[in-house]
């Protein structure tokens, strides 16, 4: 019983580290692909001016757009070195 539980625990851990490894691999992959570098203004440009073809039904979202964009641009510059 104890043995069994331990086995399960081990399995849980390896499953978790596998997931973590996959996540790291993905992150590294994007980094090497240049997703952060070179995008400095690119991302800011992408966000700051999106016209909006698709939207949420909630109309109040549009009113907060300016605020949200400013925050996004700031966050983007933090990530420029990703």
């Amino acid at each position: 019983m104890c043995q069994h539980s331990f086995g399960e625990f081990e399995e849980g851990v390896s499953e978790m580290s596998k997931k973590a490894a996959a996540k790291m691999g993905r992150r590294d992959f994007f980094r090497k692909a240049g997703l952060g570098a070179g995008a400095a203004g690119a991302a800011a440009a992408g966000l700051s001016a999106t016209k909006g073809h698709a939207s949420v039904p909630d109309k109040t979202a549009a009113n907060n757009r300016g605020y949200r964009e400013t925050e996004h641009v700031k966050k983007f510059y933090e990530l420029a070195k990703f």
Partner: protein, 201 residues
């Protein structure tokens, strides 16, 4: 409720993916105005494939005027009668507009809580709309962030099966100057996305 940035925790890489989709959406939904063109002129890229694409785009932007890009956009996507390219999933997949792929997209949009903005006339399967939807699904713009398997499914169903061909066509289009590197960037980015989805599977 205010939709602040901090509403959802999104990882750095997912945040950046959303921005790339946003950039493509912005450039493909309408020609860039002076302000955006000025931003694009200042972009620099590293020596990754994507970085080189950005570098080429910045160079093209420096050689362009808003008027010239507007005319290019018109010739590429609108045209007299029709533009050089029809950037719609339905057209690329069936040869006609407003066919089954659009119906399937509308079903998925309903399920994901995405509605169309009132003042947009084009069908929803326009490349710019699809990029915008991917961006929103990643950041939680339409409710809450959608997990990777569902992002992957949306990507595979509505984008991967035709958009790479569209971006290749855009790169090769006769009318494309500013939009040639946009085609290259789209192509490279979608290929990165495809590979990353494979890794996550």
């Amino acid at each position: 409720m205010a939709e602040g940035l901090a509403r959802f925790e999104v990882s750095d890489e997912d945040y950046l993916r959303a921005q790339w989709y946003g950039l493509l959406a912005r450039l493909l939904s309408a020609p860039p105005d002076q302000a955006l063109l000025t931003i694009v002129r200042g972009l620099t890229g590293d020596d990754s494939e994507l970085g080189r694409g950005i570098h080429t785009l910045a160079t093209a932007a420096r050689a362009a005027t808003p008027e010239a890009v507007r005319e290019e956009y018109f010739n590429l996507f609108i045209g007299v009668g029709r533009g050089e390219l029809l950037p719609f999933a339905s057209y690329y997949l069936t040869g006609f507009l407003n066919e089954k792929p659009l119906a399937r997209l509308r079903d998925d949009m309903t399920e994901l809580g995405i509605v169309r903005t009132d003042d947009v006339k084009e069908p929803e399967d326009h490349i710019a709309s699809l990029c915008e939807m991917m961006s929103g699904l990643i950041t939680g713009e339409f409710g809450e962030p959608v997990d990777l398997p569902r992002q992957r499914q949306f990507f595979a169903t509505h984008i991967a099966c035709w958009a790479p061909r569209f971006f290749d066509d855009l790169q090769a289009a006769e009318s494309a100057a500013f939009y040639m590197p946009v085609g290259a960037i789209g192509s490279i980015f979608l290929s990165i996305e495809s590979q990353a989805f494979e890794m996550a599977a």
